[in-house]
Symmetry: C2
Subunit: 203 residues, 2 copies
DNA sequence: GTCTATACGGTGATAGAC
DNA sequence: GTCTATCACCGTATAGAC
């Protein structure tokens, strides 16, 4: 499905889009980084717009692959923390997402449709999963729809905080702890246990 | 401090930057919307970069003015919900923030320094205030530094969610409820009042 | 001081010709 | 593929009107 050439171009595009945004990127720049000509890129991706959309799909696929071994939904806080940890080690993925989002809020194609649909879809699915798991009220007291929005907002915001933070490595843990509280799955918030079961590398 | 002319230019710049980003905006476009020439704009703001930085300061000042009547820190969740409610009714403010942030994560000036410093400063101040108020452990069980990062991430993420959401009006309430849980100041997850005390004009 | 009008040098992206 | 024409923009003048 994804030829080596295609993937090579997608990886080059990922870097260039992350560095210079969509508007700021020329197909020539992607071609140069991938080691071929503009015509070569256009052979695989008929337009810059299509290249970006395929790149976003590629990005989601990478993230999904990384979570493939987990049993999603048993430990939401852990799932999202793991996803964030993955992105922390692949800054281009988060950067391109942020860049596309910014172009979406200005109403520009092609990002606009993608971001709106993705946001709506994620909220809807997460809400449904939370209802299935907890009913109409989470252990934290939040209703599932509110919690889903808050969780996604936290994840999106974390993307941007760690991108400009010296110490990006602490964000997976932040996500894990904050989501545990938000959902109410916090097993031990009490001062009696100094050693939580999380892989805290230190404080 | 801010002449009428300056403010007029800033408001025009706010709209144009929000619509087209920093790179995509020409001084001519700002000048045209403000009703003068490029030279007129450059008379007040010696460069495009400076125009953006002053615009960001202007944006913060607007937000601060809007919260001037509150006794900040007594009710953090309410404070932030109010701030979000304000921005929901001024989409250009949130949009320009998002756009600038995206340009910052690609390492581009002038946004980069501003965003990094603002993020660091906000986290530091909020952490200090939380420690002063709650000590080294919030009622939710989170430590103040983690909570501060989570709160700011939630706020940043909410900016972007509501910008692409049909129903932006629900986000102030989401922020209020989610922050109450995150901080542990959740007094009563009451199902009885769908009408918070915020000045939501409604939709 | 607050602008307008005009113009110049420099840049970076784009498009066409060779 | 390189070279060149073109374009849009930034920033910096200058001169002058109110």
């Amino acid at each position: 499905m994804v030829s080596a050439r295609r993937q090579q171009i997608l990886e080059a595009a990922l870097e260039v889009f992350a560095e210079r945004g969509f508007k700021g990127t020329s197909i020539d720049a992607v071609a140069e980084r991938a080691g071929l000509t503009r015509q070569g890129v256009l052979h695989y991706f008929p337009s810059k717009k299509r290249l970006l959309l395929d790149l976003l799909a590629f990005r989601e696929e990478l993230a999904r692959e990384h979570l493939a071994g987990r049993r999603l939904g048993e430990d939401w806080a852990g799932d999202f923390a793991e996803a964030v940890a993955f992105e922390v080690h692949h800054p281009s993925l988060a950067t391109v997402q942020t860049v596309v989002l910014a172009e979406a809020v200005t109403g520009q194609e092609p990002a606009c449709g993608y971001v709106r649909e993705r946001s709506r879809s994620l909220q809807e699915h997460l809400t449904a999963h939370l209802i299935e798991r907890y009913g109409d009220r989470l252990p934290s007291g939040l209703d599932p729809r509110t919690a889903a929005a808050a969780v996604l907002a936290l994840i999106e915001g974390v993307h941007q905080l760690w991108l400009v933070d010296q110490d990006a490595e602490r964000y997976p843990r932040i996500v894990h702890e904050a989501l545990s509280v938000l959902l109410g799955t916090d097993s031990a918030p009490e001062p009696h246990l100094p050693q939580p079961q999380l892989p805290l590398t230190n404080g």
